[in-house]
């Protein structure tokens, strides 16, 4: 790409944001503001909710079940993914069952999770685990399955096996895929965070969203939804940066 084209693309970003906001502003003039609030009203509400501390506080409380659920999902999915990737027999035996479970919408498990874990923290954590587990597992499994055979055969022919084989060959070779799984799973975790708060007992951000919805306060709803989306993007970018730091040898174009 020429430098001129690159500069043009950089220029397009603010144009896109400004143009989209202008369209939104115009659109909001055509309908009652309680239905579609103008972006200026959403920005104002976002500032208010941030200034009085309610939005940051709710987000901070929401983080608890998100982080715990995400860590449990990672701790389960990464080893199982490596195992499935290394053992074609295990993968063949478990794939039909895993695919079948994956076909069930995670939210449909909520009544079940309520029976097992209750309406509060434990239930929310369980939903976060259910929603991230498969995304991480699939990425790790596919990655480990496709590790360069030459790499494995060289290590094996030099007598590498057991724990050192996994620690020094399989794990480093799978790291890029594990990170992809971590990043995709992080997106799902943020998603699950707000989903759990809407489908179990409403608390934190979910409670705010429900209450503002009942009051037809769409400006606040937009403010909350945008906050969660941006938070999700920031978290995923965080994992990408962590990958760049942890695996400096692995250069890859961001998808």
């Amino acid at each position: 790409m020429t430098r001129l084209a690159q500069r043009k693309e950089l220029l397009l970003f603010p144009v896109s944001i400004a143009g989209g906001l202008a369209l939104w502003e115009m659109g909001s003039r055509l309908v009652p503001s309680s239905l579609l609030p103008p972006p200026s009203a959403v920005a104002m509400r976002l500032l208010e909710l941030t200034a009085d501390g309610s939005l940051p506080l709710a987000l901070l409380s929401s983080l608890q079940h998100m982080v715990i659920g995400y860590l449990i999902a990672v701790a389960l999915a990464v080893p199982i993914g490596i195992l499935l990737g290394r053992s074609p027999s295990a993968a063949t035996a478990l794939e039909p069952v895993l695919n079948a479970l994956y076909a069930i919408p995670p939210v449909a498990f909520v009544p079940f999770l309520i029976v097992w874990f209750g309406l509060y923290m434990e239930g929310r954590i369980a939903l976060v685990v259910a929603m991230c587990f498969f995304e991480i597992l699939i990425n790790v499994h596919q990655g480990v399955k496709n590790i360069d055979r030459g790499l494995i055969e060289t290590a094996v022919s030099f007598g590498s096996r057991g724990v050192p084989f996994y620690r020094m060959v399989i794990l480093p070779a799978s790291m890029p895929f594990i990170f992809t799984g971590l990043r995709v799973g992080m997106g799902r975790a943020v998603n699950a965070m707000i989903t759990a708060e809407l489908f179990f007992a409403a608390v934190n951000l979910g409670e705010m969203l429900k209450n503002t919805g009942n009051a037809f306060d769409t400006a606040s709803m937009f403010a909350i939804i945008v906050t969660v989306s941006v938070f999700g993007l920031v978290c995923q970018e965080g994992v990408r940066q962590a990958e760049r730091l942890a695996l400096p040898w692995h250069h890859r174009e961001a998808p």
């Binding site: 144009v15 076909a103 919408p105 009544p111 769409t218 709803m221 939804i225 989306s229």
Partner: protein, 252 residues
């Protein structure tokens, strides 16, 4: 691995999961985790009580409206973004933003926009399916062989001819992959929306969850699982039938 060994492993895997489930179910009891034997015994009665298949058919009809709309919009936008840097630059920030947005968080907002009826469910499914189709089409369109387009231009093909006769067939495998992704998310979105307002199939999931025994709930979950697998396989079959070169390219 031989084909026989594969099938033995597959059946062994499914059979042992069923056995473990049965034993766990017997120990934990039907209030916590109904065993498969009970789920099957209860299934017909549950399906009649909740009018399961009627509701499911109704939900799937609404799903197909939103899903097909999302596919068409996703293909058009994705192709436009993939072929034009300007369109790409203009839409990309908003698409990334929407792609990261949780469907569940949109549900309360969409209720205010559209009410509880047909439009609400169609809109939720539409907004959940479109981005997967769009992004796959977009990546396909970006990587498309420039010679194809230039040959079409050299032969004086019009813009619409180039789109329908050259671009669309070349993008077909990517579109199908996107549609498969989108379908899984469309089904999830349908269940999310319906569970939230307790109507249709999702409403059955909610109501079955209120019963003391978990047998009906597990029956409902198995139903949506089978439907999801059948629809996904149908799309795969359609892909193999209409674009056999795609499977070969994937395998190679």
């Amino acid at each position: 691995m031989t084909t026989l060994r594969k099938w033995v492993l597959r059946f062994g895997g499914i059979a042992s999961v069923l056995v473990v489930w049965e034993i766990a179910g017997q120990i934990l009891g039907e209030n916590l985790f109904a065993p498969p034997s009970l789920v099957i015994a209860d299934y017909v009665e549950m399906a009649q009580e909740y009018n399961l298949f009627h509701e499911l058919a109704g939900s799937l009809r609404q799903l197909s409206l939103g899903y097909l709309g999302g596919c068409v919009a996703g293909i058009l936008l994705g192709a436009a973004m993939g072929r034009s840097r300007i369109v790409d630059g203009l839409l990309q920030p908003w698409v990334s933003m929407m792609f990261a947005t949780s469907i569940a968080s949109l549900v309360p907002l969409f209720i205010i926009f559209f009410g509880f009826g047909l439009a609400f469910r169609v809109a939720i499914v539409f907004i959940s399916a479109i981005w997967y189709v769009l992004l796959n089409t977009y990546h396909g369109a970006r990587g498309i062989d420039v010679d194809l387009i230039q040959t079409a231009r050299a032969f004086d093909a019009s813009r619409s001819q180039t789109f329908f006769k050259v671009l669309l067939p070349a993008l077909y495998p990517y579109i199908l992959a996107g549609m498969r992704n989108g379908l899984a998310h469309a089904i999830r979105a349908m269940v999310i929306a319906e569970m939230y307002v307790i109507i249709g199939f999702g409403g059955i999931v909610y109501n079955a969850g209120l019963e003391v025994t978990t047998a009906p709930l597990i029956g409902v979950l198995l139903t949506v699982m089978v439907v999801g697998v059948i629809l996904t396989e149908a799309l795969k079959w359609l892909g193999r039938k209409t674009a056999p070169w795609y499977e070969m390219r994937q395998a190679g």
